[in-house]
């Protein structure tokens, strides 16, 4: 890979709702170390753009490349393990993943924070990796949470706790590109600052980049290097 090559490049992306184009002709590139803020008023389709970047919704127009290779060259689970979307509404996955523990006697929502963190390693695409409790403990300490956070029930987490879980659940899988949809919307000021610091350090490693949205213009200016304004593509 050439050092000048973009990690993620997007060309001519367009999204239509009915016969109205939310945005079209969206072009941008994310390079190693980049942190880009995605800005637009509510309802302009920021979340839809992120969902399109990981193909949770089908592409209507345009092209996305990871490391110069088009999406058709990637298997989607492998692509999504590298370009990871962390939705605004953080959802504990309960015991849905594991077929061994899932049975009629247990509800679908059972499972602690630790179960949630561990179970993603049972997905085929992550099976060669291993759950690392040390790094989780280190991250939790940086976010002002003790090890007891791991034994909380996933279904009973507050909005903020669920966001922490979702962020760590994705970070531990070592993605290259993080798509963060309002990652600190439910967090207090202190934890928000810790999350920013953690992400800042995460971005220091080569071949990592992030795209984030935030309702907090202050945060976008403080944390991101440049902005992508969807209004330019309306």
């Amino acid at each position: 890979m050439k050092s000048s090559q973009a990690l993620l490049s997007v060309e001519g992306l367009g999204r239509q709702l009915g016969d109205r184009w939310l945005w079209r002709g969206v072009n941008f590139e994310l390079f190693s170390g980049d942190c880009v803020g995605l800005v637009a008023p509510s309802g302009a389709g920021k979340t839809l753009l992120m969902r399109n970047l990981v193909l949770l919704d089908p592409l209507q127009q345009g092209e996305v490349r990871l490391e110069g290779k088009p999406l058709s060259a990637w298997s989607l689970p492998a692509y999504r393990s590298r370009v990871m979307y962390v939705p605004q509404r953080a959802t504990p996955i309960g015991i849905l993943v594991s077929s061994r523990v899932a049975n009629a006697a247990r509800s679908e929502f059972d499972g602690t924070v630790q179960d949630n963190l561990k179970q993603v390693f049972e997905l085929g695409v992550h099976r060669q990796r291993q759950f690392d409790p040390d790094i989780i403990h280190t991250w939790l300490a940086r976010l002002g949470r003790g090890p007891e956070f791991l034994s909380l029930q996933g279904a009973r987490l507050s909005g903020g706790e669920a966001q922490i879980l979702a962020l760590l659940r994705s970070l531990q899988l070592d993605p290259q590109v993080l798509l963060l949809d309002e990652p600190t919307a439910s967090l207090d000021a202190a934890t928000t600052a810790s999350v920013e610091a953690l992400l800042h350090d995460w971005l220091q490693h080569p071949h990592r980049a992030c795209l984030m949205t935030s309702h907090d213009a202050e945060q976008i200016h403080r944390f991101t290097h440049r902005q992508l304004d969807l209004r330019d593509f309306a």
Binding site: V54, L55, L56, D57, P58, L76, P77, A78, R80, S81, M84, Y85, V86, P87, R89, T91, P92, I93, G94, L96, V97, S99, A102, A104, E108, V120, L123, G124, V125, H126, A166, R169, S170, L173
Partner: protein, 267 residues
């Protein structure tokens, strides 16, 4: 089979119809307002059953395999359509999915019973094929509508979880197999429950009928056991088929959850 049973005349039927007056009287006394519906329901029941009696009488004299198979296909098609009509949501191809599942399940199970177990000669003898197919279809229909309904509602209720898994790199199967399993389980529950209490709480109608018609109770019970195994297998195959086909439609090869394909049924 000897016919050592008392045949019922039309006069006797009319006597039985007097029993509906119990319902009518009760409705009138308590002002339930059910009188009209009761009479219509009673009338419909009588007319529909008398008609089907004539149809079956004609059908059982048929010796042409094509005619019998055609009737069987019509029954199967009605079951496939009714199974979908009992659910709340639609997507393109849902009726075909149901038809294909009902057809495959009932053909395999009834075929095996006719040719492999009871060894009817000829294999399409309508006196055996039609009632047995009917029993299998009725239960497969129930199972399919329950399983399909649970699968679609489950995907909608658990949408965030399924999509969270997909975003974490899950394949469509890893993300949705819990919903598939759950739907198949829910579809199977009535069949399993009814086998549990069979003979204790409920005396199956088919068996009761055979006994009234003079069959040896032990023989009637044996038929009932065969039928129940057929029903269980048919329901399982049908539910499995319809849920898997719906899974393939709503979870795309690109590992996307396509709830946008779903719409509410128009009533």
């Amino acid at each position: 089979m000897e016919s050592d049973y008392i045949a019922i005349s039309y006069g006797q039927l009319a006597l039985a119809a007097l029993l509906i007056l119990v319902n009518v009287a009760l409705s009138a006394a308590l002002q339930l307002g059910l009188g009209k519906s009761l009479l219509i329901a009673a009338l419909r029941m009588v007319v529909q059953l008398l008609l089907i009696g004539f149809v079956l009488e004609w059908l059982f004299t048929q010796e042409n395999a094509l005619v019998v198979v055609a009737i069987a296909l019509v029954m199967t098609a009605i079951a496939g359509v009714s199974a979908v009509n009992r659910t709340q949501r639609r997507f393109a191809g849902i009726y075909w999915h149901s038809l294909l599942s009902v057809l495959t399940a009932s053909a395999l199970v009834t075929g095996f019973a006719m040719v492999g177990i009871i060894r009817v000669q000829p294999w399409y003898d309508p006196q055996y094929l039609i009632p047995m197919l009917g029993m299998v279809l009725g239960n497969t229909l129930n199972g399919i509508s329950l399983g399909l309904d649970r699968f679609l509602e489950g995907l909608i209720a658990q949408r965030d979880q399924v999509e969270t898994l997909l975003a974490l790199g899950a394949t469509r199967w890893e993300a949705a197999h819990a919903q598939v399993r759950n739907a198949i389980r829910v579809g199977m529950i009535p069949t399993i429950n009814s086998m549990m209490v069979m003979g204790l709480v409920s005396l199956p109608g088919m068996m009761t009928g055979q006994i009234l018609a003079g069959a040896n109770p032990i023989d009637a019970v044996r038929y009932q056991i065969v039928i129940l195994f057929m029903i269980a297998a048919g329901a399982a195959l049908g539910i499995f088929g319809v849920v898997l086909l719906a899974y393939r439609r709503l979870l795309s090869p690109d590992h996307q959850l396509r709830l946008d394909y779903l719409e509410k049924a128009k009533r």
